[in-house]
């Protein structure tokens, strides 16, 4: 098959299989969610055009293997009837992954599913020098592994202590994983070392009298890799408290990648080559 056609198919989510003229069709799934009607259609397509099964990808996607080259347009049309479309491969923004966030999960600190949809609408399949992965996880438990992504987003909570309602029961001291809180029960006094705080929000979630409150926000990480090379994304800026600023940070990061990366260079290697501080400076300019 013509290499150009193959590249175009790959861009549109059709992954060439080792079997001649067969493709594994990747679907555009956002935040790991797909509705029941769509799932039904996927099942139909897998039976009609594939081998009657699907593959769940490592990044919350669905692939339907064994789609024949001659059926590609029929399959696209069928997907279209339920609002589904092929996913993205190659050098561009990939599937936006997300956990279920605070709409579902008791540990969640931020809303993740709609955020994934917003990011998908704005950035999905945007052409870049290399693949670019964005993942959203609702809290410090990090089920969605934010730091594996080129850009990771994690829910955090910046706590604030209100002495007036505190009963000095001592719960927050023992549940704080960073040992940032000390309660002296003999004199009813609480000390909080904000520098040690990791924004996990456990003090707020456990405090029986709501003496701990706070602002939720986004903890961001940059330059994660989990393939041939492995590196964790790094935190460069403080917790972001509003979505508008988050989007500015993402725009700046993607622009920085586009402007500075060599073709075929993952974000991490761009950062290593030209200096991660350069990105940090740019980000600090947009967060004010």
């Amino acid at each position: 098959m013509d290499d150009l056609i193959y590249k175009e198919l790959k861009k549109g989510g059709f992954m060439k299989q080792i079997q001649n003229e067969k493709f594994s069709l990747r679907l555009r799934v956002v935040g790991g969610q797909i509705n029941a009607d769509q799932l039904h259609k996927v099942s139909e397509i897998a039976n009609k055009y594939g081998h009657g099964y699907i593959h769940l990808t490592s990044r919350q996607g669905i692939e339907i293997p064994f789609i024949d080259f001659k059926d590609i347009n029929f399959v696209k049309e069928e997907l279209n009837t339920v609002g589904l479309e092929p996913g993205a491969c190659g050098p561009r923004v990939r599937t936006i992954t997300a956990c279920q966030g605070n709409e579902i999960c008791g540990s969640g600190l931020i809303e993740t599913s709609n955020l994934a949809k917003e990011l998908d609408a704005k950035y999905f399949a945007k052409d870049l020098p290399h693949k670019f992965k964005i993942g959203i996880t609702g809290c410090r438990n990090n089920c969605l592994k934010a730091e594996e992504n080129d850009l990771g987003i994690k829910g955090g909570l910046k706590p604030k202590y209100n002495e007036n309602s505190c009963t000095h029961c001592g719960v927050c001291e023992v549940i704080c994983p960073a040992q940032a809180i000390q309660v002296d029960k003999t004199v009813n006094y609480l000390t909080f070392d904000e520098n040690k705080c990791i924004y996990c929000g456990r003090c707020v979630k456990s405090c029986p009298v709501d003496a701990w409150n706070g602002t939720t926000g986004y903890i961001t990480s940059f330059g994660g890799l989990y393939g041939n090379s492995i590196a964790f994304g790094q935190n460069l800026i403080p917790l972001i408290e509003d979505k508008k600023t988050l989007f500015k940070v993402i725009d700046t990061t993607i622009d920085f990648f586009k402007e500075n990366a060599n073709a075929g260079e993952r974000f991490r290697f761009t950062l290593d080559r030209i200096g991660i501080d350069k990105l940090k400076t740019k980000l600090e300019e947009v967060i004010e």
Binding site: C169, G170, V171, V174, P208, V209
Partner: protein
Amino acid sequence: MSSLDTNAFVDITDVVCPITFVKAKVALEEIKIGETLEIKLNDGEPIQNVPRSLKNEKHKISNLTKNEDGTYTIIVIKGGLLDS
């Protein structure tokens, strides 16, 4: 080893999450709203999760003590957060 000024005592150090909270809930069902339950629980997952779950179900922790054996004892007022 129940203290004299609570209404009931339950030791959940012999079970793991999520049975820890189930056991605490069963013990809370045995007492009336406003009465107190003393719960002995382990460090780690139980102390991370049980206080949060109690709060979600409107029970109020009034005190926590660290025991010499590394466990914790919390005093819970049944329904203590219902009006707040």
